[in-house]
Symmetry: C5
Subunit: 308 residues, 5 copies
């Protein structure tokens, strides 16, 4: 269970290749120096790097925790977007269905749900700093696109269009008073999810911590050979590389996890999630006549993107 098929190990190792080469060179120089200039041998008690290691472990644990929490919160928000999109689709299709058979209502429902799909794609794109229209434009009618052009925040504009359609449906008597308010509550939750994503995206993890940990880490690596060389001789080189690699990997992972919307392979898979929403909403609208795929293969497809 430890290893998933598609781990981009090369991708991960590639991130710290540069650092590791430097560390190796540094270790070799120290070892050679130790070998050929016995009179200049410097050796420090192992306790000094040990203390640093403990402190770094504590700080990395703190940092990993916070980074993991951000990442998990981001994942949870997109999970909530899935849930609320499905709830919205169910409510729109079953509340409005009171007057079945009307062509007008069917068109209305379809436009509404397509706009919800567009909302997911546009939020995904704009969180990654890319053009919010790229995929979403396929699910919008021209008037809607024109309307959203006036807004800085396209997903917010789409939510306003949701609200305006809700008013239309209420005015036409397709929704009763309670149903309007209930669906409005669902849209509020989507609005909350959008704002939470923006908060995570826009709030930088305190930089001092990063710098401090980084600095302690290099201090530790610089001292380590002097503490080990007495016992291990030339063998200290692989040991130093191994220990340094471990610490650097954990630090790297925290850096990746803490910014889950940066269009990297380790991101929250917002595009894959949006595709799931598209599939589910299309099936709930009834315009996807093919037999459903089995759900397992979908999971495989998704999990490819989750790995660090």
């Amino acid at each position: 269970m430890l290893l998933k098929k598609n781990i981009p190990v090369n991708y991960v190792v590639g991130k710290i290749k540069g650092e590791l080469i430097l560390v190796a060179a540094y270790g070799i120089i120290i070892a050679l120096f130790h070998q050929f200039f016995p009179s200049l041998r410097i050796s420090i008690p192992i306790a000094v790097p040990a203390i640093l290691a403990t402190i770094i472990s504590l700080l990395l644990a703190f940092r990993s925790n916070q980074a993991y929490d951000r990442w998990w919160e981001a994942r949870g928000i997109w999970g909530a977007i899935v849930n609320d999109s499905r709830s919205l689709a169910r409510e729109m299709t079953t509340f409005l269905g009171m007057n079945d058979g009307s062509e007008e209502i069917e068109t209305f429902k379809k436009r509404f749900l397509n706009r919800q799909i567009a909302w997911c794609y546009s939020l995904s794109q704009s969180l990654r700093g890319q053009n919010a229209y790229i995929r979403s434009i396929d699910f919008l009618v021209d008037e809607e696109v024109k309307f959203t052009r006036r807004f800085s925040n396209m997903p917010n504009a789409l939510l306003k269009l949701h609200g305006m359609d809700l008013r239309l449906a209420h005015r036409n008597g397709w929704l009763n008073d309670y149903q309007q308010v209930q669906i409005d509550g669902t849209i509020n939750r989507l609005c909350d999810a959008m704002g939470k994503c923006e908060r995570i995206k826009n709030t930088v993890f305190p930089v001092t911590y990063s710098l401090y940990i980084h600095f302690c880490l290099y201090l530790f690596i610089a001292l380590l050979p002097f503490g080990l060389i007495e016992y291990f001789g030339m063998f200290e080189v692989p040991l130093i590389i191994a220990i340094a690699a471990a610490f650097l990997l954990v630090e790297k992972m925290a850096i990746h996890l803490q910014d889950p919307f940066e269009n990297k392979p380790t991101d929250t898979p917002t595009t894959a999630i949006s595709q799931t929403i598209e599939r589910d909403l299309k099936q709930m609208m009834n315009d996807s006549p093919e037999i459903g795929l089995n759900s397992k293969s979908d999971q495989d497809k998704e999990s490819v993107y989750y790995i660090l």
Copy 2:
């Protein structure tokens, strides 16, 4: 209280048997080497493996925490499914009951609650990557089965059927406006629970951590004999096995806890919980005339599956 009757200790130990044999062989080789080649004795200060032990402890604590949180969250979600299923059943049976005596309503209620039971089973099955129809099909009528075949996500299809039945009940005047919206809120919560389970199922725990901890652990075990052999001689072998077993068990447990829907004996007992829901809902529908079992024996039955 520490030991529950049904602990599959063998199951647990079996998981690390392979590793322990290797560790034992390694320890014996070192000890023999130490014994018969005194001139080549290598001994390192105990502080070196000690540092590694502290770091590993911190990282395992972090990891166990996250794994435990995932497991506990999964358990909490299924607890919420129990609660919302009961609430749904209570609301359906008491809200709709306004026009008692009607055969049609009774059939309707029964179909609705049976579908809720089917929903639990199908969610349980599909989370484990198994055929979602296996148990649930017994609680569905043919039309429902046919309807769900069009969907990739069967539990979601059942929720849509819930919503359509709600519309039917509202249109027939069996539910008033508020009651429809109230029950719709309960279905929304079920939809949330479903999405949360999928999130846990589909989100892989960051693999780098696993690899890093695994790697540190073996490094630690490899160094440990050299640190202990000076003081313990041959006695280092059982000591090494004991310490290695402890660390490996904790790591193994974290690996198990972090994926609570994998059809292993340590999973969230979704099938047992679904059976509890089936029992409760059947009794609330009144078609289970037998005297209730005492609740204790049920607990025993369930707890068998909870143990790691």
Copy 3:
């Protein structure tokens, strides 16, 4: 403030008496051996047990945290039951009061609130694995008792009766549509609380952790004398007992806290809380004409049971 009057210190110490006697005997044997067989003296560096102590501290901290969280969650759930019972009573007495003076409504209210008291007692009893009828039966009419006999889960049956009474009140026009739905929401919250208690009761804390910590602890205690004897001689015996007692107490406490519904003096005081609910609800029903006790004495009564 550290010590509360009623600490059952004996109760606590009694739990680890057996272990302590063994530890003392073990320490004495080692010390005597050390004294009389100087040639066989074994002494290990203090660093070895020290490492184990650090690891055990980390694991006990993790475990205490989880156990404390379970205990605090259980306490919080029963706090919520108090709140929702009071809210339910307030809503029933003030919503239904629209047609004051009617004998029928007064009887109805009384039956409803009595059933809520019965619900608390029956939940408390069934969580502890005891007969759910023992106290609750005094607050139920015969028909209700007969109805609940058909259910495995008595508290759930009582909630269904709540729902049926709500329907009755609504049909008779005693409650308007909104009020029915609002009270239904309160009953949903009680249903949630019930399910959460069952979840805590039925979910065993992962046994591997317990075993692992237990095992490490004894390994640590077994090694400790050899690390201390060089510096302390015979004085190591009280020191070992003191340190072992401390660790064992913390472990014991975690074991107790993690299962808060086991009918032990350290449990969540569900019976005392149910009595508080009974008192409050009776006073809100107006059939308790005596002057209220001052609230302080009640607190004293309760706090007796909270101590470990």
Copy 4:
């Protein structure tokens, strides 16, 4: 920013004065003994107290965390009381205002909001184990006082009066159906806040932990001089006092934080918060014609009480 003007440092130090004098005496005796009886010198490796220090740090961290969480939760609950009191006042003044000009409604509103102020004061008093009527009685009419005398729990009685007034307003047509239910929801939240405060007040922090930490701490202080005296001689005395003071202060603070309703200067400032609520509600009722104070001075007044 570290020091606030009004820190009662004396208050804090006063709490541990006794302990510190004992520690100083103990340190001096050891040092003199060491000086004048060189043949009996006892010196233990610094590692022994060091291990204890690490363990105590971990346990104090756990305890501080839980104590801080209780204190912060208590503060959060009173924050929620402020919010809900304001919401209640806003809802009462704007919902009921539909029929402006009526003398009767104005009196009704005033009585309701005064009762809400009384509720805050009575909750604050009864949490501290004091007479719940002391300040609150000024805001109640005689009938209300008489009514509450029948209850053990005065704040709960006031909430019931709230509910009865809500019924009155509904029956008189001053509130429509939705408004009654909405305000009832706000009262439910106040009821929850009350119950949560009682839960914190009545739930004792597990005593074993306290005892265990206390015991470890004194063991540590007793061993410390023997570990330091070799390196520091007479200078160990101030060092021991300093280290002991630090640990004792942290322990003391945890003890204070964990019980936030005990009428100590470090409590949750329930009285000050109640005064803020009184001020805000009076201004919202319009019977406070003076120009508002600037908000800064209020903050100063409050923050005086928050410091430990």
Copy 5:
């Protein structure tokens, strides 16, 4: 990714410049003394400062955690304010829009949304202890300003005006009963957010911790040279400065994070967030005809202020 363009490193380092100069001077004096008075050399085992380092790390981790939580909570509250402001705007524009075309309603909507913008600015200002009218007055009509002058808490006064306008809209039939209650719920959430900000602002972090950590830190720095000088000689000076800088930076950061409303460059960017709300609400009111900026540039503008 580690470094953002606009890190005010000088700002950060400036904060600890004084301390670092003192530390450097201290280290140099010790080193010179060691060099020139060999007979008076004092050297302590490295274990003594090592223990202190571990303890300080644990305490700083606890403190950083709490400070980070306060900061993140503050950020989350302002995120919720964004969400609820948008929801409020969407609800006001689409619920009230039932009678489109009416000049009166359009004026009403505009006044309402402008007041919401004013509320954000006034809350931002008053949290920082500044004049609450500075920016907000531009968005208020004279009557509103006059009304708020009577209140100590201006944002609360604005919420009361919101409620009064809601009553007006309801009385005029612009909003139906459910819509009034739904919008009232949104205002309640804004009221909660306001109270939560005040809670964080007014609750001082327990001062004892700060003092204790500060004190331990200086004790540690004072002892450190004596532990290192034996191995490093004059090289201990840069090492001491580096280690001291690291600890002092982490402490400083905790101090900054724990008070997120103090008008410092590391604050929660309440003004920038208010500007975002202003932009979004203006666009939703339709009086901002220009084409929206792309959202990326906005994020850059904001993130400037988030860095420590």
